[in-house]
């Protein structure tokens, strides 16, 4: 697929945490993370930005693969991770570190009654 000059780097799942840690040490912020459902797999995109530079890391995983949480590295990642888990059913490990009330919403970030609404048949 044409990436139109975007800085998209494919990495294996086990590289996710080391990549997030090295980006944080380099002064990058997490700009977004999102999931695309590919039918039999998920494609996860994590974008990091430093001033006007932006780099996107791409991970393709099987539906049942467990994805490590980067919330212990980037505290703001908990919203993206809860979203991927609730809307797509990505098998995230416990999101973040336990605070007084925790940051793992256990599929209740959006309070949607329907399970994984973004991977419905026919969508």
């Amino acid at each position: 697929m044409e990436n139109n000059g975007q800085n998209i780097i494919e990495i294996p799942l086990e590289e996710l945490l080391p990549t997030a840690m090295s980006r944080r040490e380099g002064g990058w912020r997490i700009a977004q993370a999102c999931c695309t459902y590919l039918g039999d797999s998920y494609e996860l995109s994590y974008s990091f930005a430093r001033e006007y530079e932006v780099v996107h890391y791409r991970i393709v995983i099987a539906k049942d693969e467990v994805v490590p949480s980067i919330t212990p590295v980037y505290k703001s990642a908990f919203l993206y991770e809860n979203e991927m888990k609730e809307l797509f059913g990505v098998n995230m490990e416990y999101i973040g570190v336990m605070g007084i009330l925790g940051t793992d919403y256990k599929n209740k970030l959006y309070r949607i009654n329907e399970e994984t609404p973004f991977v419905k048949e026919g969508q």
Binding site: M1, E2, N3, N4, Q6, I8, R24, G27, R29, I30, A31, Q32, C34, T36, S45, S47, E51, Y52, V54, H56, Y74, K75, S76, F78, L79, L87, G99, I100, L101, G102, T103, Y105, K108, L109, Y110, R111, I112, P117, F118, K120, G122, Q123
Partner: protein, 359 residues
């Protein structure tokens, strides 16, 4: 030992025009932790890519939010135009810039009104919204709409602004500027207003970066980052300096937004003076095939649009990361250590847009 309790805040609250809920963990009157709950109005607009073709999705993205409606449509169009290598005519780029800055003006004025309302200054609230009304009138004259404009299309825009309309808009803005200076002077210099904001809700530069803050929230913590400087639309042709503050508090966030109000007026003046003649849309053929991440600077900060297309008229994915979504963790950080009475003002200073967040 301080008494610890959990106090629910929202989803219905006088300062919240839209529903969000926070569980506030308090030690006496001091917030030690806050956990947000969203999802009261989640619409799942992103999934409509399977039912609406890539042209119809322009109108879907415009409906993400009633304040940044134009910018949502434009950000999505930019992403698709990049995938399809469509060269948008210069006049359309200038028109988009003018509508973007009108959106910023009306958004910041709306926010000033809500802020004044939150600390009980009703006359200031009414003055802010009276001025905002003039911008909405300009939208109505130029697009036919006051909330949803539907003037974006893939390849350009659907409506033009004739020279006399642009001249009229510049005159309206010239007239508004004096009134704006009087009104914003109260926000910046009134003793009571300052006492609610100065030193309240500190977001250090380190925390702003760690929490992924964007927009005025980031700039009020000393970072000179503004996606308009990447040069999308006509911003690359126009002169403007990024407005920042190093004070990191609620007052700084108010100061940055007020600075951006006058900056938007200046950008509209520049664009109206420089706008070239020519077409307002390029012809677009075929379907998009590829992917693109587009970033634009909305009134609340950087918005991220990801579009993935497969060569058919229906997209595989359209994802929007809105600025409020990015600013929630930073807001939670500012709440830690805050007095319970300051929580409404603190929530307002990120200028939350829940309909964006729950696209």
């Amino acid at each position: 030992m301080a008494k610890r309790s959990v106090v629910p805040f929202g989803p219905q609250h006088p300062v919240l025009p839209e529903p969000i809920h926070l569980d506030l963990v308090l030690e006496d009157e001091v917030v030690v932790e806050a956990v947000p709950s969203i999802g009261y109005v989640h619409r799942g607009l992103e999934t409509l890519v399977k039912k609406k073709d890539y042209n119809e999705m322009v109108y879907v993205t415009e409906r993400i939010c009633g304040i940044c409606s134009f910018m949502h449509g434009m950000g999505y169009c930019n992403a698709v135009e990049n995938i399809m290598n469509v060269e948008v005519p210069d006049r359309a780029k200038y028109l988009r810039t003018i509508w973007c800055e009108m959106s910023r003006l009306h958004s910041h004025l709306l926010w000033l009104g809500l802020l004044a309302d939150a600390f009980g200054f009703e006359a200031l609230f009414m003055h802010s919204w009276r001025l905002r009304e003039k911008i909405l009138d300009m939208f109505e004259i130029s697009t036919g709409g006051r909330v949803i404009f539907s003037v974006n299309k893939i390849g350009g825009v659907l409506k033009d602004m004739p020279a006399d309309m642009l001249k009229n808009f510049v005159q309206i803005l010239d007239g508004m500027e004096k009134e704006l200076r009087e009104t914003t002077n109260i926000f910046l210099n009134d003793y009571t207003v300052k006492s609610r904001m100065v030193g309240v809700g500190i977001l250090s530069p380190e925390d702003a970066l760690k929490r992924g803050a964007v927009g005025p929230m980031m700039r009020a913590s000393g970072y000179a980052i503004d996606m308009r400087k990447t040069g999308y639309a006509a911003y690359g042709d126009l002169d403007f300096e990024i407005i920042t503050s190093n004070d990191c508090d609620c007052y700084a966030r108010c100061q940055v937004r007020i600075g951006e109000i006058f900056q938007s007026i200046d950008i509209i003046r520049q664009a109206a003076a420089k706008i070239p003649d020519g077409e307002i849309a390029a012809a677009v053929k075929g379907n998009p095939d590829g992917e693109f991440f587009m970033r634009v600077e909305q009134p609340r900060g950087e918005a991220f649009y990801y579009v993935r297309a497969n060569g058919t008229k229906f997209l595989d994915r359209m994802r929007v990361r809105t600025p409020t979504f990015a600013n929630l963790p930073a807001m939670l950080q500012t709440l830690k250590g805050a007095q319970y009475a300051d929580v409404p003002i603190l929530i307002l200073t990120i200028d939350p847009c829940i309909s964006c967040t729950e696209r």
